[in-house]
């Protein structure tokens, strides 16, 4: 079992004012995710903060591109972390923590789809997905937004199962076996979905890129 010991991604600012907790707290010893989760189970909230900081952005991007809707992604993100928090007493480090985390998030999304069948029938990209920050430079913002819009449009074109597998691969950093475990399919199916998703996405990105260049010229 590999352990995600990447100790990066800390943002410098502690923006949650009411808690008075310093988020970016570098620990002397780099603990793997499972050890941090076990520490949190024993009452160490700092361990959870470290664990959260390792995975919050990737999980958010996974849910946002899976649902293609900002509010849905927000809800699912909180729901998934809430389940992680509530299940801490029963947590056993039998698998990589990121596999556990993305499996919980995947199941939250599946439950959401079942409850909202309209979402499954027609996925439209939420315009709020590209809400900009006032701090961004206008030129950079426009360029970045266009690129993101192209990416999301390409992701929208591929079937949700393939999109899910691709995002688990890219954002979760999961292997084929782990993706198969998370999505509840066999290894060959997961591998096939990933291959198809990657091929379609590459073609779509190339196509939209060419179209964008034609528009400019």
């Amino acid at each position: 079992m590999t352990s995600a010991t990447v100790y990066a991604g800390f943002r410098p600012a502690a923006l949650c004012e009411d808690g008075g907790v310093a988020y970016a707290r570098r620990m002397n010893v780099e603990l793997d995710d499972s050890a941090l989760m076990l520490r949190y189970r024993d009452g160490d909230t700092k361990a959870f903060e470290t664990l959260y900081r390792r995975h919050n952005d990737s999980l958010y991007r996974y849910l946002m591109r899976l649902s293609l809707h900002r509010d849905t992604a927000d809800d699912l993100f909180q729901e998934a972390w809430g389940k992680i928090i509530n299940s801490r007493q029963n947590y056993r480090p039998t698998a990589k923590f990121s596999t556990f985390l993305f499996r919980v998030a995947h199941n939250c999304f599946i439950d959401h789809i079942r409850k909202n069948k309209r979402h499954a029938a027609e996925t439209r990209i939420d315009p709020d997905l590209y809400a900009t920050s006032s701090a961004d430079e206008p030129d950079q913002t426009t360029e970045r937004l266009l690129a993101r819009r192209r990416l999301d449009e390409c992701l929208r074109r591929i079937p949700p199962e393939q999109r899910d597998v691709f995002l688990l691969y890219e954002e979760g950093g999961l292997s084929i076996d782990e993706i198969a475990l998370v999505t509840g399919v066999n290894r060959e199916t997961a591998k096939s979905r990933l291959r198809y998703a990657a091929g379609k996405l590459k073609a779509a990105l190339l196509e939209t890129s060419d179209a964008g260049q034609d528009d400019v010229s």
């Binding site: 590999t2 808690g19 909230t45 919050n56 958010y60 691969y169």
Partner: protein
């Protein structure tokens, strides 16, 4: 370096590295700070749901346990010395476990016990004195017939009570001596002991 970057190399071949790189260069969003706050707050309050409030320091539980144990121990000792507990629960104070805290409570319990004993002795002597005073006063009023005043002391002795004739003689002596109440009680006793007895003056 992102997690996805590491894994790309770890099990590459399924996805074109150029595609992964392009994806990672575009997909750089972060979770909103409001969500971070909400989740981290939930993580903190989530610990409180187990019964440990966030304001409690780590040592609070053990300190509370020690205090509770000491208070319970002292209470049992006091109840034991006051003979409130059933005999099978009572313990001998001298066989208590030794230790500083045990000795402190043992000494305290002993002092309480001694105070209770002193109070009992004082109260007992006061009761005895008042009883003796009352008896003396009765003696003065009743003259020589102390036995008649005392209901527990029979007027006729066992030898006189052995036969109907001797018991009756005793009763007649009492009547002639003016102790008519005592004579009546003795007659009642006589008739209970000898149902066939008939007073000579009624034969």
């Amino acid at each position: 370096m992102s997690i996805s970057g590491k894994n790309q190399r770890a099990h590459g071949g399924d996805v074109d590295p150029a595609l992964s790189e392009q994806y990672r260069s575009i997909a750089t969003e972060s979770a909103p700070d409001a969500l971070d706050c909400a989740v981290l707050r939930a993580a903190r309050t989530g610990l409180g749901k187990d019964g440990t409030p966030a304001w409690q320091p780590d040592w609070f539980r053990s300190a509370a346990f020690i205090v509770m144990a000491a208070l319970s121990f002292a209470l049992i000792l006091e109840m034991n010395d006051a003979n409130i507990l059933p005999t099978d629960i009572q313990t001998d104070g001298r066989s208590l476990p030794e230790g500083d805290s045990a000795n402190v409570f043992q000494d305290a319990a002993k002092s309480v016990t001694e105070q209770i004993r002193d109070a009992e002795e004082t109260a007992g002597s006061a009761i005895q004195n008042s009883g003796e005073d009352a008896l003396a006063a009765t003696d003065v009023d009743a003259g020589t017939d102390q036995a008649i005043v005392s209901p527990g002391n029979p007027v006729c002795d066992e030898k006189q009570r052995s036969t109907m004739a001797s018991w009756w003689q005793c009763i007649e002596a009492l009547e002639s001596g003016g102790a008519s109440d005592a004579a009546e009680r003795e007659l009642t006793e006589l008739m209970r002991a000898f149902p066939a007895f008939v007073r000579p003056d009624q034969r």
